[in-house]
Amino acid sequence: MFFTYLRRELRQRLRQTLLVAFALGTSIGLVIVVSAASAGISDAQKTVLSGLYGIGTDITVTKTVLPTQNGQRFDFGPMGQGATGSTSINTTRLEVARFAGTFDQAALSQVTGTKGVTKGAGTLKLSQVLFKGTIAAGSTSTTTAPTPSATGSARPSINNPGGDTSGAGDRGRGFGGGNFNIDMTSIEGVDPASLTTGPLSGVTVKSGRNFQSTDANSAVAVLDSTYAKTNTLAVGGKVKVKGVDYAVIGIVAPSSASAETSSNFYIPLAKAQEASGKAGLVTNIYVSADSSSNIASIQSSLKTLLPDATVSSQADLAQNLSGSLSSASSLVNSLSKWLSIIVLLVAFFIAILFTSSGVTRRTRELGTLKAIGWKTNRIVRQILGESLVTSGIGAFIGMIVGVVGIFIVNAVAPTLSASLASPRRFGGGGGGFTPPAGFTPPAGFTPPAGGFGGRGTGFGRAAANATTLKLHIGMNFSTLVIGVLIALAGGLIAGTYGSWRASKLSPAVALRSVA
């Protein structure tokens, strides 16, 4: 009788059943779409981050140092005096990436020895700057300021592959003329023996091959595909590190379609340390945790271990993502979340209202059942059952709405972009390229007062890592389960309220003559 009565009740009052089911269904459908979108966006963030930090990386350890006044001097090296009296420069400077501090071998083994750390790989991030060009003779700061047109032609051109070229904002006052190129390349020394953690973990080899342990001391390089494309380099070609040729053995890209890896190219760690004179030192330590639940505790142990280091988890790094991806993320996380909460409340309200008014309408019917001997429990079960089955239908409708909704979102999905606003940001936008401390210009070269007005963190990293990707949200099991549970909860609440009211009915209402 329970099922017969339940089935009859829902079938004969189909309009009400469907109305409540649709209210619950569309609202949980929305919840499913929103949470899938939110998951999709955080996946997208992970994709971008894994492009930058490698897939198996849970935590990165870096150290930030402010440039000191008595830092390394920039030596332009020997300069030829040209026939026309101009000075020609062609010099390479290879140094640790800007603001990056170094860790020694002991720090690395401390990190790998920390409880919960399964792997740790150190890399040495280097920045190679190539100055090339001529400076007109006699152009000293004391000479007459050049005419705007003259400066225009003499403005140093900054070649920053794949990067932001908003570039040289300030013209070099007192810079007499000539042609001058600054070429910056980010190079990362990686340990071929531990590629499963770090920037090259999870990359796709586009051509050639990745490093092998036998490459440890060879002059070989693996190129980021974007860098290779910009500079028309291919496997078999050559890149120069401090004037020395390295054979290109492979070209890699992150597994996500259009992201970039963290550096322009990679060379064996030992070679990088040797070339930069940083034997045994690394700038970045990439850490894999044994379990994602341990990340927070590992992070805090590492912070205690290395007090002046920056220890970042993927989540910390995700906060530094900017661009439309993070806008989408905050949109989904705020607006849509509230929207779905409101829609859910409305649906719950509708479910409660209809169940309750159903009990009112059926007062005599339910009273009669009590009068003929039905226990209150049985009537409660009946009302609750009707409500739960209705919400089950709602859950089913919700899944369809959710799947269709996700399909539609994917069909019209916007392409999102993300860039990593480096945590090592100094002074914000316009901070630019201030000539390194100790920069000794050649005779007659006065550094531009305002620096070359780069954006963000200046050259290299930040700007070079702008990534676009098409948002793809997927259906996942737990989202569906949560949707179903929410619908059932709505049914449970409405049914509990309705059956509570039914339980209060006196069987004497059966005798009331009013219809």
Binding site: M1, Q12, T368, L369, W374, P507, S513
Partner: protein, 229 residues
Amino acid sequence: MTTSHLYSLKDLTKTYKQKGKLVAALKGVNLEIARGEFVSIQGPTGGGKSTLLQMLGGLDQPTSGSITLVDQPLETLSEAKLTEVRAKNIGFIFQNYNLIPTLTALENVQTALVPSGEGKAESHARALAALELVSLSDRADHLPAELSGGQQQRVAIARALVKNPEVILADEPTGNLDEETRDQIIELLVALNKEKGITVILVTHDSSVANKAGKRLHIAKGNVETVTR
């Protein structure tokens, strides 16, 4: 007290509180009803007929006094126990039939067997037999809305008798029916009373119905009198 008495009411009162005012619906009713009697209750509207029927049916508790069904003092029973008494011993028939609109005739009859936990096949057979008794077995699959008023009331009678109750309580069972149908229903109740020995207590405004009863009660302003012919 003799066991032949089905009901025994002593100084039974029922007072309702409505908007702060007390309404005395029954004012000290003393009454005995024997097993197998056919009792009619008449009286002006608002006189307390339905209230008395509620007391007899264990649908509500009296304000004071006692009401004994066989040997169970109903006024002392819990709601759960009263539900059991109703399920086992009492069949109700209502003026508006009170069938479950979403269930078929057969299923409506079966609802009366739900509390006894009757098996599916057994319940089906008994309900069908009850419908047979009211000559409606050919309408077993019909919904109440597909039946006439008289047919609906016959389904309700089948629902009341299917559990073989001690007593059938009917509140104006023919109030909504034409004369011909009314007579069919009353004949049915008379037959049940005669053939099955079921006690029938019915409330009616209709003297021609009341005339069929072996015992006629009149209730006005909460006071019950036995009408003598």
